[in-house]
Symmetry: C2
Subunit: 206 residues, 2 copies
Amino acid sequence: MTAAEISTESAIFDAALRVFSRKGKDGARMQEIADEAGINKAMLHYYFRNKDSLYEAVFAHVIGRFFSEIDRAMLPGRPFVESMEGMIHVYMDMHAAQPEVARLWVQENLNGAPVARSLIERHRNADHPFGPHRLLARIREAADAGEIRAVDPVHLMMTVLGMTVMTFIATPTLSVFDPSLRIDSAAMIDARKRHIVEVLTHGITI
Amino acid sequence: MTAAEISTESAIFDAALRVFSRKGKDGARMQEIADEAGINKAMLHYYFRNKDSLYEAVFAHVIGRFFSEIDRAMLPGRPFVESMEGMIHVYMDMHAAQPEVARLWVQENLNGAPVARSLIERHRNADHPFGPHRLLARIREAADAGEIRAVDPVHLMMTVLGMTVMTFIATPTLSVFDPSLRIDSAAMIDARKRHIVEVLTHGITI
DNA sequence: GTCTATATCTCGATAGAC
DNA sequence: GTCTATCGAGATATAGAC
């Protein structure tokens, strides 16, 4: 790969991520992606065959990176609550640095999540156990050991997802009620982290 | 209004809600809405001038109904935790009966929430205090009185929104890990309610 | 690898018959 | 009030020069 190819391709990636996360796959316009990438439409089709394959490439790349980060953050051996606190910090920081990823995933789900589901199915059949699977197992283990209250692992996962991801979804509406609610504010992200950890810690411990 | 007008108009409303909630305003196709409503495209433009006004009519109607339901569910005088438990039940039941509303609101937010914001601003200047405003005041009151832990009202609202709404967003992905996670299952909705109430109750009380 | 120009199709919206 | 037919704009995608 030449330097030009790398920078153009990553410019396309970034622009596509932003546009897809705002409008979804069908609502996105190739022209808008080209404009945000600072190139012309023909280049999009040179690097990626068409809109569908561009969408799939962006989604797979961005979600794949997320999953492995979550995997890395899930250190074994530590008490569950402590481990959960660390994961929430990592998770929130990743979303704060690039809120488009959470939004893209939500768009995927609103559309039935065909791409996400096929990605997960493919990973499931791979050699080593998958991030979310390992996390669910860890939650069940902690619940069985009486380390935390007897929660359903999938419900707790959904709860963590809701509390964290919603931060980067709901602000356009909720900032009407509290203008200080800006996701580019480090103080807000910090306050959000503390709230989540506090509520969850007291919420699941016995 | 004749009977034909009423049934056609509500058929359009329902179909538009479904399609907009899946694809967002820009991703939705007038043809798809017409098909789901069992009419042809020309009728859409007969009842609503264009796509934008159809979207705004659907959004305003559906969110307005939601806000007043929330308002009704917020009975004063009762202990906060008890009142919150009731609201979560009402809120979850409404979403379970019509999951498209939560999804439409999320779509709105992904798009910057211009319609939602102008709706709220308009209501704010109306005569009587607004649902969300009253709820925020009620949370602050409970926190100040030491009835619950000292939480930021907006963060608690975001948390409740996340835990409830995420149920109707994330299932396409999460059902890969747990196939019993179906939003049309009364048992699942019930389990979800119990989980939310349990985590939140322990999470905010002292 | 990057651009302009254009082919082809789809979409939103309207005209006009019934 | 409902339909068919169609217009014109805007969309994806490609051809071909540089």
